[in-house]
């Protein structure tokens, strides 16, 4: 497996900057929806070898509520929100529902919708590319199991995957969850091309 960098530091920081603006907008939208203050960590852009990818996100057998939003258009990608069980419970509690009920599930999907739509709006306005979210899907299972199909889509022609990951925190709810953007194989080049890099 080759180990030379696929992209320059400048290209990675450009991608990281888009993600930074995107998650900033997403956090603002979420804060407005739930009426609580939302913090984000600066997103990290990282190329990870496939065999290390799952564990880089956390312990692979951790049970999570996962909301997957397929991104369609010029640069296909996946956006995955991974809520540890207690985070899903406290976020749903804040919205007056129960994480394991149908209502709780659709509340989490709606949060996926809002975060993803504002994130993608930033990407579109920054790059001029056209990308939009497909309806979000939900699964409750081990972290590794919900992420492996997403990774599979990104590694058809390469053995490394670009992760843009950040943590989102809702202070009043003691809720901390992962936001992961994984472009499909050719989408990274399209994003960079649109930026002229």
């Amino acid at each position: 497996m080759s180990t030379e960098p696929l992209y320059t530091d400048m290209q990675l920081s450009a991608i990281q900057e888009i993600a930074n603006i995107g998650t900033g907008n997403a956090a603002t939208a979420l804060a407005q929806m739930i009426g609580a203050s939302v913090d984000i960590d600066p997103p990290q852009a990282e190329f990870v070898p496939l065999e290390l990818a799952s564990e880089r996100l956390g312990a692979v057998e951790t049970p999570v509520v996962a909301v997957l939003t397929p991104v369609v258009g010029d640069a296909p990608a996946s956006i995955l929100l991974a809520f540890p069980f207690d985070a899903a419970a406290s976020l749903c509690g804040l919205l007056g529902t129960d994480a394991l009920s149908d209502m709780g599930r659709s509340a989490l999907q709606e949060i996926g919708n809002i975060l993803t739509a504002s994130y993608l709006t930033s990407i579109c306005s920054f790059t001029g590319l056209s990308v939009e979210p497909a309806p979000p899907l939900l699964a409750v299972d081990m972290l590794g199991a919900v992420v492996d199909g997403v990774l599979a889509m990104a590694v058809a022609d390469t053995d490394r995957v670009l992760f843009l990951k950040t943590a989102i925190r809702i202070e009043d709810a003691y809720c901390d969850f992962g936001f992961l953007f994984v472009p499909e194989a050719h989408s990274v080049d399209r994003l960079l091309g649109a930026l002229g890099l």
Binding site: P135, D141, G149, V155
Partner: protein, 157 residues
């Protein structure tokens, strides 16, 4: 520990080969119980389309022959080999979406079975599809294969 696109082989009776958190991926175990040799592959995608040279275990069509060669080199008799496969789930159920993401699990299972058939390896047990992730453990000493899913007791395949 066998991570995505990796394989492991052992003839040490003390060993257990493990893949954790299989979703749409396939865990493919091959063994010759008489020789005490077992192997486990963590397959990610169905077809290599000639891209499998560097990472044969990543694709079903290249993983199967690669795993067969490897267990035979470790002392297994090809004629006694048996297979167990698990994984290939549909993690995100959606009746409306036709995204290829949702079909990877099925295609992985189908392609793995086809490759086993082409190599004339009998399948001892199979636990594929559904919507639950799986962790798999292969005990080299007994050639037993245990599968676990969230909220369910382990199953011995």
């Amino acid at each position: 520990m066998v991570r995505m696109a990796e394989q492991a082989i052992s003839s040490n009776r003390e060993d257990t080969l493990v893949s954790l958190g299989l979703g749409s991926c396939i865990g493919l175990a091959l063994f010759d119980q008489d020789a005490g040799v077992a192997g486990l592959s963590h397959i990610v995608l169905p077809e290599s389309n000639a891209r499998g040279a560097g990472t044969p275990a990543k694709f079903a069509d290249t993983a199967v022959p690669h795993l067969i060669d490897s267990v035979v080199k470790a002392g297994a008799n090809r004629a006694r080999l048996k297979a167990v496969l698990c994984g290939g789930a549909h993690m995100f159920a959606s009746p409306t979406s036709s995204s290829s993401l949702l079909q990877i699990g099925d295609r992985n299972a189908t392609q793995t079975l086809a490759a086993l058939k082409a190599s004339r390896i009998p399948v001892r047990a199979q636990d594929t599809g559904g919507s639950s992730g799986r962790s798999v453990e292969v005990r080299v000493a007994t050639c037993e294969v245990f599968v676990r899913s969230v909220g369910q007791p382990p199953r011995n395949l």
